[in-house]
């Protein structure tokens, strides 16, 4: 059980690291949102699964309720994260920012 939890936590951390590195490495506003919005969602999904499993280690009703609450957090993250990313992109488009393209780089 501990091995599974540790593995999941490490995978989640790798995804989070990828998100942070990606924000720095990608070229422009729009493409930076890709790692910021999605790798974080995946990382938090893995970490939350790990935490709820770890919480069930000593099984009790209270522990089960806490695990269900953690799962509920995940549901809300999956609903709100795309909405927030979409809101940011929409603001960028409305402000008239044009996306980075390959052609722009060759010039």
């Amino acid at each position: 059980m501990n091995i599974i939890v540790t593995l999941l936590l490490i995978c989640g951390l790798i995804f989070f690291t990828g998100g942070a590195v990606g924000i720095i490495r990608f070229p422009d506003f729009y493409s930076r949102l890709h790692p910021a919005g999605k790798l974080d969602t995946m990382g938090s999904l893995l970490i939350m699964i790990a935490l709820s499993l770890f919480n069930l280690h000593h099984f009790s009703l209270g522990g089960l309720l806490t695990s269900l609450k953690i799962i509920l957090i995940m549901v809300f993250v999956f609903l709100s994260s795309p909405t927030a990313v979409h809101g940011i992109v929409d603001a960028g488009v409305n402000a008239g920012l044009s996306p980075w393209t390959k052609e722009e780089r060759r010039r």
Binding site: G22, H34, K38, L68, F78, L79, S81, P82, V93
Partner: protein, 170 residues
């Protein structure tokens, strides 16, 4: 078989009430009479005011079937999210990142009809890494920012047909 509006209202009230009680018990975690009765009272009041807001569907009889189809769609979506996340992770740590990506905003016309399926489709596109929904019009015209060739190819594709099936439009 048609239902009278009053009957439908009671049904949607009970459904909202039931879901709210479940969430209340889950969040409070206390099973003594005082907390449970507080929950039941407040759930009843909220369900009375807003019961017809959430489940005001004309085909309320098909609701369980629709939910089952939607729940069957979720594991596939999670699998897709996982695959696409791996791809984005590979891109992020690739030394020649700027040669690999080719961000573009693409347009396409979706054949989905109802509001809820369009919202689900837009959400699924944004959740799948590599693509972000920029704009959706009411008649299903999508503006999507895609990061590279591979994620652009996948649109609208299989995801749309699966959502159409999940909401009974396929």
């Amino acid at each position: 078989m048609t239902h009278s509006p009053a009957k439908k209202k009671i049904f949607s009230f009970l459904l909202t009430f039931f879901i709210m009680v479940v969430v209340w018990v889950l969040l409070s975690g206390k099973f003594d009479a005082f907390h449970l009765s507080l929950g039941v009272i407040s759930c009843a009041i909220v369900a009375y005011f807003s019961g017809d807001l959430i489940f005001d569907s004309p085909k309320i009889r098909g609701l369980p079937v629709a939910w089952m189809r939607f729940i069957r769609y979720i594991p596939w979506l999670l699998y897709q999210i996982f695959l696409a996340n791996l791809h984005l992770l590979y891109l992020t740590f690739h030394p020649k990142l700027h040669d690999l990506i080719d961000p573009q905003i693409i347009n396409f016309q979706s054949k989905l009809q109802s509001d809820i399926s369009l919202v689900t489709f837009a959400h699924s596109i944004t959740l799948t890494p590599g693509t972000i929904t920029v704009d959706v019009s009411i008649d299903g015209e999508f503006n999507v920012h895609a990061i590279d060739e591979k994620s652009r190819k996948g649109l609208p594709g299989e995801m749309e047909s699966r959502i159409a099936k999940a909401f009974g439009e396929g």
